[in-house]
């Protein structure tokens, strides 16, 4: 049984990781695109329109990738996690079906209109279609987060005698205290990714001395939005999320922070260290006393419950992975604020466009927000273990009863091969679009 679940989890982890490269970019990018388009309407300066249309091309490639890698996600609930689907489908089916009905149609219809219909519609309607694309992509994020929030902190349900979860209060799916902080945190993180991509393409154009006017605009936009969103990811949205974890999933909180023993008189915050699961301590630890208690409860000497407080069956099953994911996310987030802060200073002093070390830094920063976003999701998903529905349904009890591990490994290998090809295609398409540049729009 344990072995069978391993491949199911690995397949889900692999396919969702690959999938989430794309939506995190499209969600933030859709907002930046309508900012460009809106600014064009106000200023009538063609460069903003070029920018909007250029990034919509990149958006479209990512959207396509999101669709083809998203269908396997929905299917896998049924194929690999049939018992989970059977027991909870009446509840999370609501939000997932709403996503299909509301966001996908909105996004895909208006994306086509935005790309093909500018001349036909005029500028104001063109802006409006861009706005609907934004609305669709954020609605999609909201409904997925609502689904996940229910798994993290179930509300509005009743468990029947046969073990099935049924919905009793539809509205509670959306007033779930887990939902809003998680949604805002996720959207801000998605804005970090897209603003870094925008800024990085700008830095690239400045470094190769092509499309420099556009490059400056992209870089400036990327740095301003990048700094704002990096700050908002940490505070207040990240802070609120951490407090939710401490409140609703204390075992996950202790594990991600690396607190092995309950600290009665205020807990330290761990900066660096490697979890040693045999001796139940952190090796090579560097920590600052009392900060964690203050950050979590605004009291320096408040008690924080450690992992020793919980039975092994209640603790996440991969504590080191959870701990590292969390520390990579937080560490990268801090670095982002630093680099974007410095870039802002240079921008303010009008030195950013010619200061090569910073341009190179911004160019090569681009994979890291993706990593931060993904590790953030690993924290949420590993922290929820050993449960699928926190406190109620264990992961081992959610798997398909009839699918053997040999079949799962077969399909996992197939996905790996196919996604390699898909990744290559993605790089070629995006690379060509960037190489082509934003100026190619005039007929």
């Amino acid at each position: 049984m344990e072995d069978m679940i391993f491949y199911d989890r690995l397949q889900f982890a692999f396919t969702i990781t690959f999938h989430y490269i794309f939506p995190q970019l499209t969600m933030g990018l859709s907002l930046i695109i309508i900012l460009f388009k809106g600014y064009y309407l106000k200023s009538n300066n063609e460069i903003y329109n070029d920018a909007a249309k250029f990034f919509m091309k990149i958006f479209a490639i990512n959207f396509t990738m999101g669709v083809v890698t998203g269908i396997p996600m929905e299917f896998q609930f049924g194929t690999n996690w049939a018992k989970f689907s059977e027991l909870t489908g009446g509840i999370i089916g609501q939000t997932l079906a709403m996503e299909g009905t509301f966001s996908f149609f909105l996004e895909s219809s208006f994306l086509a209109l935005f790309i093909f219909g500018e001349k036909l519609m005029g500028q104001k309607l063109h802006f409006l279609t861009g706005f609907f694309v934004f609305l669709g992509s954020w609605a999609s994020g909201y409904l997925i987060l609502a689904t996940n929030a229910w798994m993290q902190h179930p509300v509005g349900y009743e468990v029947l005698a046969n073990g099935k979860f049924v919905l009793t209060h539809f509205s509670e799916l959306f007033s779930n205290p887990w939902l809003l902080p998680a949604f805002l945190h996720n959207q801000m993180a998605s804005l970090v990714t897209s603003s870094f991509v925008v800024g990085s393409i700008g830095a690239f154009y400045l470094l190769i001395k092509k499309h420099e006017a556009h490059g400056k605009l992209f870089l400036k936009t990327g740095v301003i939005i990048g700094l704002i969103s990096s700050l908002l990811v940490a505070f207040p949205t990240g802070d609120l999320n951490a407090k939710n974890v401490a409140k609703y999933q204390p075992a996950a909180f202790a594990a991600m922070e690396g607190i092995f023993e309950t600290e009665e008189a205020g807990a330290e915050i761990v900066l660096i260290g490697q979890p040693n699961m045999v001796e139940k301590k952190l090796d090579n630890k560097i920590a600052v006393p009392n900060i964690l208690s203050f950050l979590t409860y605004q009291e320096w000497d408040k008690q924080i419950i450690g992992m020793d407080h919980f039975d092994k069956s209640e603790l996440p099953d991969n504590i080191p992975a959870l701990y590292y994911s969390y520390h990579i996310m937080v560490g990268l987030g801090t670095i982002f604020i630093g680099i974007m802060g410095i870039s802002m200073l240079f921008l303010y002093r009008k030195k950013l466009y010619s200061f090569k070390p910073l341009l190179w830094t911004i160019l090569f920063l681009v994979p890291f927000p993706f990593i931060a976003n993904l590790t953030g999701w690993y924290v949420a998903e590993l922290g929820r273990q050993p449960y699928l529905v926190y406190g109620l349904l264990k992961t081992v009890d959610g798997v398909s009863p009839t699918v053997s591990s040999g079949n799962t490994l077969f399909t996992l290998l197939g996905f790996v091969a196919l996604y390699m090809l898909l990744g290559l295609l993605f790089l070629v398409l995006v690379g060509k679009t960037i190489y082509h540049g934003p100026q190619h729009q005039k007929h």
């Binding site: 895909s108 086509a112 919905l167």
Partner: protein, 357 residues
Amino acid sequence: MEIFWFIIIALFLAIFFILDGYDFGTGIIHLFFAKTDKDKEVISKAAGLFWDSNEVWLVAAGGLLFMAFPTLYASAFSGFYLPLIIVLWLIIFRAIGLELRSQIDHPIWRTIWDKAFGVSSLLLALFFGVALGNVARGVNLGGVENGVSAYEAHYFFLPLWNPSFSPSTTHPGVIDWFTIVIGIIAVVTLAIHGANWIILKTNASINNKLKSVIFNLNIALAVLTIFSVSIWHIIEPHPLANYLEYPAFLIFPMVYFIGLIGTFFIKKFKKEVYGFACSSIMIVGGITSTLATMFPVLLPSTNDTNPGLTIYNTATSQYGMSVAIPWMIVGIVLIIIYFLVQKKLNAGKIDDMDYGH
């Protein structure tokens, strides 16, 4: 309430098969009939511009099935594990072919990805037909062996085939000679549908020839249809029982035959859209007739130990189904609005349009 959701999901699936159906059919025609570079280009564009917005309907139908009939979703998706994942791979591979073909301007490169697009389209049409055949035939629910269930009564796991390829055993595989017949019917139907789409949306040089192709394929389809109806009793001992009980259901096969007969007049149609309309209602009629034969069963059982899955024993709670009706109605109104707006923009032939590509 169960019936409401059943109709909604059947509607979404039918629209998916009309829309993505012409996509698959376009690929099949592309594989066998497109010869010149210009035809290949414009025909792959006739699919390439629309496939992702068409597949949204599949995602939506899946989500609705998950919500309204979670037990069916869980049972069928895990039981048909391998064919479903293979369908996913084909969908992705087909999209890769479509998007990659124009990236490098070299004949060998194009040939490779054109073949990838064509073959995966053909296999998808075949697999969707096989899937319909499986749903009609039923499966060994509960994995019964000598009267004893190996799993809970509503779970099963189907191998891709069993050595006999016979549909009348208690342990059928995904592929047997009955489901292959249904698969071939799907391939022929979607090839006709795709040819109609190409005629409607492009100025390809083969358009006139395609009308003869459609006519000939339609003869084959009529023969296959009569054959499949005559052998239907093998998988369902009383195929007409539902039609005798609910005579109104006869409308579905009638719709199918109107489409089938209409298609024979392909060369006489004054408007190209009539051909497309005929193949569309043929698809709707074919799917709904099959479902009507089974209603209210969704997945029959091939053993006597466990009952088949119906819309009643797989549905979620009454509250869950009723609370979703208001948002679904809002959703459908919105989808109709998007559809009308899009249709206005996409009218006309593809090669006449300036898409700024």
